[in-house]
C-alpha cells in the first residue's frame, strides 16, 4: 500500500469513533472461554491429560487392586469407578492453576486489566472451558467403564446428577488453584504444593476401600475428608441410592470454597 493511501486508511479508521455499550459479564466470560478454545485449536496436545488420565487410572486401579480388595475385578469396578472418576477430575483441576500461572505472566494480561470489563471474567471464562474438559474426561471414563462391565443402577439420570455434583465441586476447587497460582512464582513450586494437597486428600478417602476397614483414627479423618463426601454423593446417585446428606455437604463446601477463594483470587489478581 502506498504511503498516502495508508495515511488515508488510518485516518478513516480513526475517524470511526463508535463506542459500543459496555460488554456484559456473561459476554466477556464467553469471550475468554473462546480464547481458551482457540488455544486448544492451536495446541490440541493440551487435551492429552484429560484423555490419558481417565484411561490409565481406571485400568490401573481396577486391575491392580480388584482381585485383592474385592475378590474379583468385576465387583471392584462396580464399587471403584465413581471414586476413580472423582479422583481423576479433582486431579485434573490442578492444571487450571498451572495454566493460569503461565498465562498471567504474559503481556496480554496488562491489556485485560486495563479494559473496562468485569474483572473476574478472565478467570471464570477459563474455568468454564475447564468444565468442558472435565466433562470430556468423565465421559471417556464412563464409556471405558461401560465396556469393562460397569453398570449404573441409578440409570442415565443418576449418572448425570453424579456428574453435576462432581462438576460443581471441581469448579469450586479450581479457585484454590487460581489463588495459589497468584501467589506462587514458579510453575514447579505450584505443582509441588498442589500435589501435596491433592495426594493425601484423594488417597486417604473412601475412593478405593470402604472406611469401615480402616483403623479408627484413619477412619475419623476419612469421614471428614470432603473428597469422601463427594465420592458418597456421586456413588449414591450412580447406584440409585442418593445420599442427600452427602450432597448437601458437598454443596455447602463448594459454595464455601467459592466464597473464600473467589474474592481472594481477585484480590491477588488486582495487586499483581
Amino acid at each position: 500500500m502506498s504511503k498516502v493511501n495508508q495515511a488515508e486508511a488510518i485516518e478513516k479508521a480513526l475517524s470511526n469513533r463508535a463506542r459500543p455499550k459496555k460488554a456484559s459479564a456473561l459476554s466477556t466470560c464467553l469471550t475468554f472461554s473462546g480464547r481458551m478454545l482457540l488455544k486448544i485449536k492451536y495446541v490440541p496436545e493440551q487435551l492429552f491429560d484429560i484423555t490419558a488420565f481417565p484411561v490409565i487410572y481406571l485400568l490401573m486401579f481396577t486391575y491392580l487392586f480388584g482381585g485383592a480388595i474385592a475378590g474379583s475385578t468385576a465387583a471392584y469396578l462396580q464399587f471403584v469407578l465413581p471414586g476413580i472418576l472423582v479422583m481423576t477430575v479433582v486431579m485434573i483441576t490442578m492444571y487450571t492453576g498451572i495454566e493460569l500461572n503461565n498465562d498471567i505472566k504474559k503481556g496480554i494480561f496488562d491489556r485485560f486489566r486495563t479494559l473496562p470489563i468485569w474483572n473476574p471474567s478472565v478467570l471464570v471464562g477459563a474455568l468454564m472451558v475447564d468444565l468442558v474438559r472435565y466433562s470430556i474426561a468423565s465421559t471417556i471414563m464412563l464409556v471405558l467403564g461401560y465396556i469393562l462391565g460397569f453398570r449404573a443402577d441409578g440409570g442415565f439420570g443418576g449418572i448425570v446428577l453424579g456428574l453435576l455434583i462432581l462438576l460443581l465441586f471441581a469448579f469450586s476447587v479450581s479457585w484454590i488453584w487460581t489463588t495459589l497460582s497468584m501467589i506462587m512464582r514458579s510453575e514447579k513450586s505450584l505443582l509441588a504444593v498442589s500435589m501435596m494437597i491433592l495426594f493425601p486428600t484423594t488417597f486417604v478417602s473412601n475412593v478405593f476401600v470402604a472406611p469401615e476397614t480402616m483403623p479408627s483414627w484413619l477412619e475419623a479423618f476419612v469421614d471428614v475428608n470432603p473428597i469422601s463426601y463427594l465420592v458418597r454423593a456421586v456413588r449414591g446417585f450412580m447406584e440409585g441410592t442418593p445420599d442427600y446428606q452427602a450432597v448437601a455437604w458437598v454443596s455447602v463446601i463448594s459454595l464455601g470454597l467459592i466464597v473464600i477463594f473467589g474474592p481472594l483470587t481477585m484480590y491477588l489478581y488486582k495487586r499483581k
Partner: protein, 327 residues
C-alpha cells in the same frame, strides 16, 4: 465553566510514588499533560517510566501522591479511567498464541462490539496498519514492527481519549520506527492525547510537544524540546576532511566562523565542535568552500541523551541495573 477548565488536563499527577522495598522506583513525580498533545517521558533504563505508566493506567496502586486521568482519580475512579484510556505496554500486550485477527476480534468483543462489528472493525484497522496479509498468522511469528503496529491497532479499536505508549519504538528498524511515528501523529490529529516513554532524545524531539526527563524516579527537567535543548546546546558539529594535511587549516577556518573552540579528534581526519547557534553552522560550510578545503562529512548531531543527562545531572545517564550489580 470551571468544569470545562478542569478538563484541559488529560493527566495531572502530583508527588506520585512507588517503592519496591528499598528501591524508590518512582519517587515523587509531577506531570501535567494537556489534552490533544503528545507528551514524552524520557529516561534511561530503570528510570521508572514503566512504573509511572502502570500507576497511571490503574495497574499499580501508588504508594504516595495522587493523579487524575481525564478528570478521574486513578485509585477511586479506576473504572472510569479504564473506560477512557488504552495501554500499549513495553512488551507486546497481545496474545502470542492467537492470530492477529483473533486478537483484534477478542479485544473488540471485550469492548462490547458484537461479533460481526468486532470483525468489521478488526478488518478495517488491520488493513489500515498494513497487517491484513498477516491477519491469520499467530502473533508469535510476527516481526517486531508488525507486533508493535498490531499492539497499537488493538489499543484503538475504540478510539481512546488518552493512549499510553511504553517505548513504542525500542528495537524497531528505522522504517518501522517511522511507520509508528506516522501512526502516532495521525492519532493525535484525530483528537487522541498520547503519553509515550522513550530512551531516545530525537524521538521525543520529533514527536512530543512537551518532554519530562526522568531519572531515578524523579523528574529532573521538564519543558518543550526547544527549552530542553537550549539548556543543553544544539549539539555537536562533526567535520571530516579529505586530507589529514589540511585539518589544521580547516580547524582555523571553523574556529573563526563559529567562534567556539574546535576539538581535534583522534582520527586524523576529524574535527568536532560544540555549537549553540545553527546559523553559524551553515556559514562554516561556505567558509570551507571559500578556503578550498575539501570535506567528506559535515553533520550536526542532536545532543544525545547522554549529553542531556550530563548537562542536567552532571553525570552520564546510567543503566541502573549496572549500578545495582556494582553495589
Amino acid at each position: 465553566m470551571t468544569e470545562l477548565n478542569q478538563e484541559r488536563w488529560a493527566i495531572e499527577a502530583t508527588g506520585l510514588a512507588k517503592h519496591f522495598g528499598e528501591n524508590r522506583a518512582v519517587d515523587g513525580v509531577d506531570l501535567k499533560v494537556k489534552k490533544g498533545t503528545i507528551y514524552g517521558v524520557l529516561g534511561p533504563n530503570g528510570a521508572g517510566k514503566t512504573t509511572t505508566i502502570r500507576m497511571l493506567t490503574t495497574l499499580l496502586k501508588p504508594d504516595g501522591g495522587t493523579a487524575r486521568v481525564l478528570g478521574y482519580d486513578i485509585v477511586k475512579d479506576a473504572d472510569q479511567v479504564r473506560q477512557r484510556i488504552s495501554l500499549t505496554g513495553q512488551f507486546a500486550s497481545l496474545d502470542e498464541d492467537l492470530s492477529g485477527m483473533e486478537n483484534m476480534v477478542m479485544i473488540g468483543r471485550l469492548l462490547g462490539f458484537s461479533r460481526k462489528d468486532a470483525k468489521k472493525r478488526a478488518e478495517e484497522l488491520l488493513t489500515a496498519f498494513d497487517l491484513f496479509e498477516a491477519a491469520k498468522r499467530q502473533v508469535k511469528n510476527y516481526s517486531g514492527g508488525m507486533r508493535r503496529r498490531l499492539d497499537i491497532a488493538a489499543s484503538i479499536i475504540v478510539s481512546p481519549e488518552l493512549l499510553f505508549l511504553d517505548e513504542p519504538t525500542t528495537g524497531l528498524d528505522p522504517r518501522s520506527r517511522n511507520q509508528v511515528w506516522d501512526i502516532i501523529r495521525l492519532l493525535v490529529k484525530a483528537g487522541t492525547t498520547v503519553l509515550l516513554t522513550t530512551q531516545y532524545l530525537d524521538e521525543a524531539d520529533q514527536l512530543a510537544d512537551r518532554i519530562a526527563v526522568i531519572d531515578h524516579g524523579k523528574v529532573i527537567a521538564e519543558g518543550t524540546s526547544g527549552e530542553l535543548k537550549a539548556s543543553v546546546g544544539t549539539g555537536k558539529l562533526h567535520v571530516r576532511v579529505f586530507d589529514p594535511e589540511i585539518r589544521a587549516k580547516a580547524a582555523e577556518v571553523l574556529e573563526q566562523t563559529i567562534q567556539t573552540e574546535v576539538q581535534l579528534g583522534t582520527d586524523p581526519l576529524v574535527l568536532t565542535a560544540q555549537v549553540s547557534d545553527t546559523k553559524l553552522v551553515s556559514k562554516a560550510l561556505l567558509a570551507f568552500e571559500d578556503a578550498n578545503i575539501a570535506i567528506t562529512d559535515f553533520s550536526l548531531g542532536q545532543p544525545s541523551l547522554d549529553e542531556v543527562f550530563l548537562t542536567l545531572t552532571g553525570k552520564p545517564a546510567d543503566d541502573q541495573t549496572k549500578e545495582e550489580a556494582a553495589e
